[in-house]
Amino acid sequence: MPTAPEQNDDAARGAAPDAPVIEFRDVGKRYGDNVVLDGLDFSVRKGDRVTLIGPSGSGKTTILRLVMTLEDATEGYIFVDGEPLTHEERNGRRVELNKKQRKRIRQKIGMVFQQFNLFPNMTVLENIVEAPLHVLGHPRAEVLERAGNLLEKVGLADKADAHPSSLSGGQQQRVAIARALAMDPEILLLDEVTSALDPEIVGEVLGILRTIAEETDITMLLVTHEMQFAKDVSNRVLMFDGGRIIEEAEPEAMFSNPTHERTKSFLRAVLGEDQIGTR
């Protein structure tokens, strides 16, 4: 049965045909007195692959968590496909929307975590089919076939019945990627997905993400310290510091020719002294 996209009042009001997939308007996030994000404006277009870089504590994870609605911004507005995600402006005041709004929009967004966060009480296959079956309500046979294809894609077809605890970190992260893709998200959020892995298995995970970037048009917002990977998959890099974007460029330009002093010193620390400006 073809499912028409749900059209309710909220959807009709906010959606604009050519809107960015993600838009931050003057977004702020505070924890008590700690201002993590401040007056943040940026947008991500359909099919964009945007890498967030910046020193520890600059708010990169927080941005992904805001998009996934794991946290709420304390100021400003976030839009997904032109629709307000959690808050909107009404008569000049910032009001929280009905929780149904975020629940509906959330289904377009997938996230892969640094610590994998697979469900240890389920097998690999059960992890992958859980949401397609019980959230999307897709037919079992279809879901199983798709899960099989995804496992094939991440090279773990033989591990369907294994429990996550019996897998290596790299394998667990590949399952987590398959689990996120099983929901067929428009937007994929990747937060340092290789930084909990041993160096020798980072490559297997990045290889899969490269393939996904090539074969799909999923919009990606990613945080990574793997600069070569950022260069390979992303078309834009945003450099954060102190809760603001201090520099924005295409990866080639950002890594070979950063303009901002903070970016230069950050990249020097990450890439090593001699690499900046020589490529």
């Binding site: 794991l70 959330r106 996230m111 966060n117 697979l118 859980e130 019980h134 959230v135 996120a180 929901m183």
Partner: protein, 222 residues
């Protein structure tokens, strides 16, 4: 050599003679109450734990206060109170209800700790997958919380088992009472009471071994 004091003179015949009534009380009362009360306590304990977590503050506050009150009064007092307050109920029913409710307040604490032990990342993954509240609890949180709590729940079942002799205050013929009745009729107490002790030991020791083996098997290899 001085003869043994009279109390310790052991009569095998009385021991064998008392055994059937003890075993029947064990199966029909002690074990029955333990199993039913454990089931009641396990379910009610989970309900209390989830109420404390999900219910609006005033409701949760009242439930917490009642649970605290139940935990802080002796089970014997609760048995006698329920017995005289609900004269129309069978003593055995009173026993099952009081044991079940009393222990549910302890088990709710175990569940609470189990729920708290589920890492934040698990909750975040359920959000990222748009899972419903219901599915989040039944498919992710409760199974993981239970894994952490099964051993503690098992230990409470064993201590409930050992508390069943309190039922004699409301006249239930559980194993100890059956031993006393045999003693009264035959003027031999030491044999039935010793056997009662042995039966308790034979039942609880293997059970607690089983629980600690289960504990090891349930631990996630990470």
């Amino acid at each position: 050599m001085t003869p043994l004091p009279a109390a310790l003179d052991w009569d095998w015949e009385s021991a064998f003679e008392s055994l059937p009534s003890l075993l029947s009380a064990f199966l029909q009362v002690t074990l029955l109450v333990t199993v039913l009360s454990t089931a009641l306590a396990a379910v009610l304990g989970l309900v209390i734990a989830m109420t404390l977590r999900l219910a609006p503050r005033p409701v949760a506050g009242v439930v917490r206060w009642i649970a605290h009150f139940i935990r802080m009064t002796p089970i014997v007092v609760q048995l006698l109170f329920a017995y005289y307050a609900f004269l129309e109920l069978e003593p055995l029913t009173i026993g099952v209800l009081v044991f079940g409710i009393h222990y549910s307040t302890y088990m709710s604490e175990v569940y609470r700790a189990g729920i708290d032990s589920v890492p934040a990342g698990q909750w975040e993954a359920t959000t990222a997958l748009s899972m419903s509240t219901r599915r989040t609890w039944t498919a992710v949180i409760i199974p993981q919380a239970l894994r952490a709590t099964v051993p503690a729940l098992g230990n409470y079942a064993v201590s409930m088992f050992k508390d069943t002799p309190f039922l004699l205050v409301i006249g239930v013929v559980e194993m100890v009472n059956a031993g006393l009745i045999y003693g009264g009729n035959n003027f031999r107490y030491i044999e039935p009471i010793t056997l009662v002790g042995v039966i308790f030991l034979l039942a609880s020791y293997p059970t607690s071994l089983l629980i600690s083996r289960l504990e090891k098997r349930l631990a996630y290899r990470t």
